[in-house]
Amino acid sequence: MSRRLSWLPWLVIVLVALALPLYLDAQWLKAGQYMMIGAVGAIGLTLLSGQAGQLSLAHGFFLLVGATSYTVLSGDEEGLVGLGLDPLLSLVGAVAISALAGMAFAPVAGRVRGIYLGVASLSLVFLGLYLGQEAETLTGGTSTGRAPATFELFGFPFSNEGELVIAGVPIRGTERLWYLFLALLALSYWLARGAVRSRVGRSWRAVRDNEAAAAAMGVDVRRTKASVFAVSSGYAGLAGVMIVLWFDILKPDESEYGTYGINTSIAFLAMVIIGGLGSVTGAVIGALVVFGLPQVLTLYSTNLGWFTGSVTPVLVSSFVYGAAIVLVVLFEPGGLAAIGRRIRELRS
């Protein structure tokens, strides 16, 4: 394909994504939204673990930070801490707070690297679990949780309120949220691609390949690590905001294997590995696999009765992505991104 037409597939993808709400049921849209949440989070993690080589198992924690921040900033219920800010402002604030939380981890991130860092970051998950349960005035507690404010953009609500019809299809809460998520994903993708191609991305890769060499070439290693942690946690925070909007409730986990726990962190890592460490497009595709599979299987299974007893869609998906990680490391360390690259080379 000539270089001039390389935008064509993208145009098709965007057009299809824009048109989907006109054709799909609400439950399929929900599934699609869930994949987009995964994609936004995975983009953040691929920058951190792939581009900058910093293993992190704390992604679930930063999701929780973003989710809680949004709910606290935008909410104003009786008996709970809430600032009642504008939802858009709250979203931006939640991303900023998550990024700051990532930066606060910099003293650790700056000192330890590689696997050590991965294990060190596990501590944040346990801290999040504890704080989420204890800080009930912020999170609403494990028993009831807390409802987030409906997202609004300049007075336009992303709920079932008001009438909006496109091509004879009523655009209600689910459809509106689809477009919101699509916009957030597109923005995330575009910013990440820009960062990877720019000076920032080069400094990340320099630190990944050899810290000492990077420092010798004038890269401030500590600052670079802090910055990539901030960026990655900002992405995770955004995914966290999306996840409370998707669930329509913020509910802190009861164990370390919940929405914001270890399993989620590992799922994000799986997306990034399957997609190919460092590849932004790969991260999105990885998210489609890891977060998409349980959703799609659930939807199919209710229709077809595939799953019985203890074999659940979530279990099958875990097997699939666990096996995918093993296969990728064994046979194609570059993940799907490397496969894609090879196909492109074959054709040109």
């Binding site: 696997i115 050590y116 810290e211 490391v329």
Partner: protein
């Protein structure tokens, strides 16, 4: 005072188990620089084998079989998967073990279903009263077993051919290979050993005395505390694994009592963070030096 003494005893007993887990971790890292994220799932696997066999062949037979199969599983993981990707760096191999961990853990948890069985029949829930102090038999046996095994390990490391080969490989893999040490054999034995230790540890973990919870996803989560244990001591230090294990046990026992049960888990990891900030390679770990 008696409370404190009691807590120290509990902490030591738990610490002995964490030391066994951490030691398994550290020998693998020392010999191959791979961090084994599948350790928790091997613990679960060993426990599950004990559970399904103990009713037919008796607890002792089941325990023996559980330990053995945990070792064989670890060995199989190394031989069948890790050894086949010799060119992958330790970082990728660590990621690979995450994949293995997910598969094994999910399958065992599925098989367990809603049951949360205890498997430490021989010593569980038979406390001994001594003055004002309650001695949990599980902790006592764990302490004894860990002391014997760890002493044996250090003797083996110091005096046997295997120990010399293992230390040589840890020092310099290429040089060790050049003088005729079979890298694959050393690697296989450390994995086998780590698996056996995991199989032993689970007999103490899934008990009333240790955690109050039987074999479940929670067992995997407890086994995760071997990470901070190994890191606190230094990932490449066998002595560090013991010190780290005991530290984690004590922190767990003390913070559970003085703060809260919910906080204990975070406390372990917070201590690890503090150690990492003060000494990035752990208390006894080798400091990394870099060359450009």
């Amino acid at each position: 005072m008696t409370t404190f003494l009691q807590l120290m005893l509990n902490g030591l007993g738990k610490g002995a188990v964490f030391a066994l887990l951490a030691l398994g971790f550290v020998v693998i890292f020392k010999a191959t620089e791979v961090v084994n994220f599948a350790h928790g799932s091997i613990v679960l696997f060993g426990g599950y084998i004990v559970l399904v066999t103990k009713d037919t062949i008796g607890w002792a037979g089941g325990a023996f079989l559980g330990i053995l199969t945990a070792g064989v599983l670890a060995l199989a993981v190394e031989r069948l998967l890790l050894a086949r990707s010799r060119h992958a760096d330790p970082f990728s191999l660590a990621l690979l073990t995450i994949g293995i961990d997910v598969i094994i853990t999910e399958e065992i948890v599925r098989r367990l279903g809603v049951t949360v069985p205890f498997i430490g029949d021989a010593w569980d829930a038979k406390p001994i009263q001594l003055g004002g102090v309650t001695l949990f038999r599980t902790h006592l046996v764990a302490l004894l077993v860990a002391t014997v095994l760890i002493t044996a390990f250090f003797f083996a490391l110091r005096y046997t051919n295997w120990g010399i080969a293992m230390r040589a490989q840890a020092e310099n893999r290429e040089a060790a290979a050049l003088v005729g040490i079979r890298s694959s054999r050393v690697t296989a034995t450390v994995w086998l050993m780590a698996g056996l230790l995991a199989g032993i540890a689970v007999l103490f973990i899934a008990t009333q005395d240790f955690s109050g919870a039987g074999l479940s996803r929670g067992t995997h989560s407890i086994a995760l505390a071997a990470f901070p244990a190994a890191i606190i001591g230094g990932l490449d230090s066998t002595v560090g694994a013991i010190v780290g294990g005991i530290t984690v046990g004590l922190v767990d026992a003390l913070s559970t009592h003085y703060i809260s049960f919910a906080f204990a888990k975070s406390a372990i990891f917070l201590v690890m963070l503090v150690v990492l900030i003060a000494r990035p390679a752990g208390l006894f770990g080798t400091r990394e030096t870099t060359r450009v």
